[in-house]
Structure formats: C-alpha cells, structure tokens
C-alpha cells in the first residue's frame, strides 16, 4: 500500500478498480496543522480528470501496471503507433492518453508501454530527450547575463523557456518529467 508521502506528480493509484495517474500535485499544510495533499487525477482508461484532496493517514492501492518495452514507429490518424520488437505486435495510443508526452516522442525511440491487463493505457519515457530548436529569438550580442531566458519551440511543436544563448538549430536536452530545458547538446 502507498501512503500520502508517496503521492507526487506521476504516481499511479487504483481508485474504484481503475488505474489513475496524478497529473498535478500540491502539498499544503498550515504551519501548525495537518497536511493536505491536493491532487488532480486522470483516469487512465477514460481520460477523465478530477480533483481530490487527501489527508495524512490515508492509504492507497498502487496501480498494478505491467510495462512492455516497445519502439515508437509513427503517428497516424488513429494515434501514436508502437511496436514490440520481440514479436512485432503493434499497439496504438491516443493523443489524449499521451498528453504532453507526445512532444517528447522521437522516431524509433524505445519507451515502456503501460499495460492494464491486455490494454495499453500509457507510456513511460526516457528521463531525457534531445530535440532541435526550430524557433527562438536571435541572441542579442552583449546579453551575456547568465540567467536570462526566452521562449523557444522545438521540432515537435513543444514550447519552453531556454537560456538566451540558445539559437535556432541548436540541439537541446529536455527533462521529460518536468518538461524543462537541461543543457545544450554537443554535436
């Protein structure tokens, strides 16, 4: 069983017999009072979102999901297609099931597909992914202050904040768990 201290963004729980994932999480507590755990949960079968607040002392059943290693192939009108490299079985996940993870998929990337029984309901990405910047304002010469940032777009259409020295065409590393810029990649 899980306790409140296991709750965070990405934790998967069983609620009423269905797997749910925490998509937003905040801990709140009056200085001298009891802790509250505010969660936005997504039902991993239906995709429905709802808010729930838990109090310390509650316990949770972890979602028993099997993981299968698969390779990302391509996107078509039905969704995102993955293949099990051992038996060449293919499986498709919808855009809704992937959420923002769709921005971090690269052709032939190896991911873990989360299985609920025989049904694919989500993926686990590698922690870091390299993507090329396709849009960013040019670097203003003289702006050398470390710490200045600006908006940029990468090849998958994902928008994020990057340091001012990152330019169009730069390959950057992104943390897929937080969606944030990590570093420039040497090529």
């Amino acid at each position: 069983m899980l306790t409140c201290s296991d709750l965070r963004k990405g934790t998967k729980l069983m609620i009423d017999g269905e797997p749910h994932v925490i998509v937003q999480f905040d801990f709140t507590k009056p200085g001298k009072g009891q802790a509250l755990y505010k969660c936005k949960l997504r039902n991993m079968i239906t995709g429905s979102l709802f808010d729930r607040t838990y109090r310390s002392g509650e316990s949770f059943e972890p979602a028993a999901l099997e993981e299968r290693d698969m390779q990302y192939l391509y996107q078509d009108e039905t969704g995102y297609v993955f293949m099990d490299q051992k038996n060449y079985e293919q499986t498709t996940l919808t855009e809704e099931a992937l959420g923002d993870q769709k921005y971090f998929l690269i052709d032939n990337m190896e991911v873990s597909i989360l299985m609920f029984g025989s049904r694919a309901i989500g993926i686990t990405l590698p922690n870091f992914v390299n993507l090329r910047v396709t849009m960013a304002e040019p670097w203003v010469k003289g702006d050398t202050a470390a710490g200045n940032n600006k908006p940029a777009t990468v090849e998958t259409g994902y928008n994020l904040q990057v340091p001012s020295f990152v330019e169009e065409g730069t390959l950057i590393q992104i943390d897929t768990r937080t969606g944030e810029y990590v570093t420039r990649v040497k090529e």
Binding site: F27, K29, P30, K32, A35, G147, N149, Y181
Partner: protein, 303 residues
Amino acid sequence: MQGNWALAKKRSRLEQRARIVQTIRSFFIERDFLEVETPHRIPGNAPEAHIDAVPSDGWFLHTSPELCMKRLLAAGYPRLFQLCRCWRAAERGARHLPEFAMLEWYVAHCDYHLLMQQCEALLGALLPEEILTYQGRAIDLGSPWERLTVAEAFDRFGSRSLQQALREDRFDEIISLEIEPRLGIQRPTFLIEYPSELAALARRHPQRPGVAERFELYIAGLEVANAFSELTDPVEQRQRFAVEEALRRKSGKPPYPSPEPFLLELDAMPEAAGIALGLDRLVMLLTDAATIDDVVAFTPELL
C-alpha cells in the same frame, strides 16, 4: 557540460534575497536586538502533534529554534533574533521545503500586539513604497493591517462555523482550502485568537480563556508568520506538552525526551512574545515568485 541552467536562471532572485537578508539584519540590529545562533541539532523539539522532526544520530534537527531562544529570554536577554535553517520531515510543495529558512524574534515584557506592529515596520523597511505587487495583485502594506479573529474568518469565508469545524475535526482543512486563499488580499491580515487547544506554547487570552494569544500573518493568501504571547507558566506548559506528546505517540511518531531544562527555566522567563517568520515565503512575496523553488538556489530535487 555547461553550468547548471536551473541554478543560473535564479540569479536575479538570489541577488534580491541577499539584499532582503541584509535589510532584515539591519532592521533588528538598529532596534537593539541581539542576533544569536542556537544549535540545529537538539535532543528533542517542543512536542507538536502535526510537526515532524528529522532524526539525526539519536537526536533531532530542530523544527524551530524556539526552545533555545526562550531559554535565552529566561536568562535575561530581552530582545533576540535568529536567521537559521529549520527542518520539517516530508513537507514538500509549492510553498514548502523540508529544509527552509526561518526568521525568529522574541521580545521580553510585551505581548503579541507589539509583534504585529513590528511586522508592519519590518515590511515597511523592506518595501518603502508600501505597495506589494504579487502575481498580478497589488497589496497595500500601509499600516495598520487587518486584524481578523479565527471565528470571524470561518463565518466570513468558511463553509461552516469554527465550532462546527472543530467538532468535525476539519479545522485545518477549512483553513487551508477555504480561508487561507482569501486572506491578505487587499492588505495583509493578522488572523488572531486561535482556539487555545491549537496553540501549545501560547498564553490564553486573559478575559477569554477559550482562545490563545496567537496570530498568523497572511499576505496574498500565503501564511508568512506565526506568533504568540508566550506561555510562561511551567505547570500549564508541562500539561500541554504531555497532551501533544501523547497525540504524537498515538500516531506512531518517535518519542521526544521531555525538554526539562526548558521547562525548569521557564519559571524565570519574563512575560514575552515571539514570532517565527518563513523567510523563503517572504522572499517569494518580495520577488513575485510563484513557488518556493524560485527563491532558493537548491531544492532537494536539484541535489
């Protein structure tokens, strides 16, 4: 490998933070307060049902420096302040870090009303223009700030009365979810007169023993500080500690040794008031930061 961007991008706020700390130090030194440092690692903290300490080699990291600060008060130091790190186990959220910075100050021969005035004066020193802009809201810091009793706050903002919330054991839930986000919005709010069972180290109100002389300061919905007119009766303090310690042990928490030197010396402590202010949260407000992560160089996740 380049330097870490997550650290580099905090430069402006870290520079502002350093200036804020300087201003705070000057504020207290100019007012004849003695800056002290007390041990971070102690045999046990003051027992409180909902504050958990981090164990450290048989002792504990302090959750607040208050026991040592009060022993200094009892030894005859009338005005004290301390800027230090404190640890509270498993507290991590957009406004919580398990290791955080605390500003505590204590004044002998006064009650908590003086601390309210000092909060107003401290913010005045930090922000002379008196208008705080936080996350798109303008908050008027001109004194006097709002004083609101806990009972009034439940009536005004809560889905039930204070008495009803206490009966249903939902006090903290209603405060956190319904009341707190609406406090200190136009100007800072002192939430005053807590039920005495929720203030283990505070003096009871002389005319209304059901409430304690405790206040919490809220600015922009953020809990910034907690203050008391200190309880100076060793017999009553010992009884209240016993109640809190029993609650802790009942929920399976590691026992604290009774803080005997504190309880013995409390007899010599003059009437006094003390306050604990979350420095990181104050910096959040003054630098318009949405989360506590933005105002410290390192979060646990960056280590």
